[in-house]
Amino acid sequence: MSMNIITPLQGLPSLAPITPQPATTSPAGGFEQVLEQVSTVLENADQMAAGYAQGKVGLTDAVLASQTADTTFSLAMAIRNKALAAYQEIMSLSV
């Protein structure tokens, strides 16, 4: 009993070597910019509080700047928690 050698119908295509591409977006998805803006708002509230202590800024201005900073920071934290929850959900997928 003779066996024929299995001949390939066609050769395998040559694979182009994969060259790593630089990431177009930052790993955090631009979240750093958001954080920088939040930081600016917080610094502004800080300056307003100091200004009120020095008698340069009115009480309502200082309180409202502080309140705006609080809201902004809460928003940033909520987004961060949301992003982290999404990441953890992906990580806990069984493969």
């Binding site: 309502t60 201005d61 309140q67 705006t68 809201t71 928003l75 987004i79």
Partner: protein, 136 residues
């Protein structure tokens, strides 16, 4: 409108009302001042409010500001008190035209208006926080 816009409008009102309260305090403090830096008895001062645009553009929010402070030119009472150094030849002293009753009513109005605007801020703040709770 954003929460910041509501804050800005209400803040302008809070500032204006506290300026008004400052003037009321000034009037009440000078209820017996028969002399002033400009000479003559103290004259009651009144804040005149004016709408002002906050920021540029047609859709900009409209807040409020104290446009000017005017003096009440109504004559005050004249009382007979010859021992007062500011009495004239007939012994009459010109009193300020401040009526404490009017000032107290004005103070109540200013205080209520201030509280109303604080309620606006509180409500806007609560709404913003409830909106953020959607993300939780």
């Amino acid at each position: 409108m954003s929460v910041e816009g509501i804050f800005a409008v209400a803040n302008s009102a809070l500032t204006a009302q506290s300026q008004r309260m400052t003037l009321i305090a000034q009037n009440l403090a000078n209820v017996d001042s028969v002399n002033s830096p400009e000479g003559g008895p103290y004259q009651r001062q009144i804040a005149v409010f004016e709408a002002q645009q906050l920021g540029a553009g047609a859709g900009a929010a409209v807040g409020v500001k104290v446009a000017q402070v005017v003096k009440d030119n109504a004559p005050g009472a004249e009382i007979f008190d010859p021992s007062n150094p500011f009495a004239d030849e007939q012994g009459l002293v010109k009193e300020p035209n401040v009526n404490p009753v009017f000032e107290m009513v004005d103070l109540m109005q200013a205080s209520r208006s201030y509280q109303a605007n604080l309620s606006v801020i509180q409500s806007a703040n609560t709404s913003a926080m409830k909106t953020l709770d959607l993300l939780k």
